[in-house]
Symmetry: C2
Subunit: 216 residues, 2 copies
């Protein structure tokens, strides 16, 4: 099993990508793959792959390659996917609803157990088989079902207070779609900020830069 | 102005965050800020901020700090936001629709000029003031309005062919929400992959890791 804290976040961040590629291979019936072939498909070097996987104790046999199914399952285990941690969605507007409907939570390590919103127009509606509840019911659900993660699709201004509340109720991680940088100021809380605007602006720079190129 | 190619992608990727914080300061009436104060708010070091902004020629005055509005506008210009490049959305399912409705394209450098889908159930519907068109009309719109960016919210399997088609029609950048890694195999095309599943799995690892900690 993974040893706590010895693995750098950059290695961790590459694991889902291995998981994705290995999942595709499994589906297409590939049973065994060399680090060289895997490297080629993933645009990495074979030595990077060996290094990454060695962080978790290897899994390959010299000259024989990786067993795709075994490696896929091991990476699932390292990521903690089989634990299917309970998660709640807070904010069921356009983006929240789309996230709830689009994501395959089971295959990414979670089980969506509650959806909350403060708008009377949204409360009571159904999203992904769950009835949207009022924010005031968050306490009760957290006590009963102990969700570990909150998916935040709420306005920026509301974020710090909602995050504080969640932490008080035992939430240990945020999948944060708000424009607020949640990582700041919290210890021992995991945060994945998905700043869509930042990503789009980065693309804006890059495309404008390519266009300048064309003009030269 | 930005000098082509001399600026590292890691600096570029930080610019939207500066833009976001400076935008908030502008709104709240802050007119001037020292690199030390800005560093504190953004959880960076003052020297990192000076280094980043020096890539573009400075903007600050020793002992006087930055003019917030000037810096905000300069960063907007560097990112190319005022150019409002025309963009199309391909795939108007749950996520595509939510992205179209949620994003403030004008303030992130784009203008959404067309929405396309191949499903008869979706074609003809309205999304963000635009009527969803059939994929077969993409050619015509690209010739007429020359969009530079395509936002892809389509199934993984469809992605390579759609991307090839877009490039043929003059698209220079992709905001890619599919599970396909678009960056591979294209030269002189800008790509921002938003792999939501990868992000969620990274969070899964981190939360499970924190929980192990609690058990020790």
């Amino acid at each position: 099993m993974a040893k706590k804290s010895t693995i750098s976040i950059s290695v961790i961040k590459r694991l889902p990508r291995y998981h994705r590629y290995l999942g595709d291979m499994l589906k297409s019936g590939t049973r065994r793959i060399s680090s060289r072939e895997l490297a080629h498909i993933m645009s990495l070097t074979a030595s990077q792959i060996r290094q990454d996987l060695n962080c978790f104790g290897g899994f390959g046999q010299q000259g024989y390659g990786y067993n795709v199914e075994y490696l896929y399952n091991e990476i699932s285990n390292i990521l903690g996917i089989p634990n299917r941690l309970p998660a709640v969605l807070i904010g069921a507007g356009n983006l929240g609803k789309a996230i709830a409907r689009q994501m395959d939570f089971g295959n990414t390590g979670f089980q969506l157990i509650g959806v909350f919103d403060q708008s009377p127009d949204i409360v009571g509606k159904e999203v992904s088989g769950l009835t949207v509840k009022e924010m005031s019911e968050l306490d009760k659900i957290c006590k009963e079902k102990q969700p570990k993660v909150a998916i935040l699709c709420i306005p920026k201004e509301a974020t710090p207070a909602v995050a504080d509340k969640c932490i008080e109720l035992g939430i240990m991680g945020f999948w944060n779609f708000t424009q607020y940088d949640l990582a700041q100021g919290y210890d021992n809380i995991a945060v994945e900020n998905v700043h869509l605007s930042d990503s789009l602006m980065t693309l804006c720079y890059q495309v404008n830069d390519l266009m300048k190129d064309g003009e030269e």
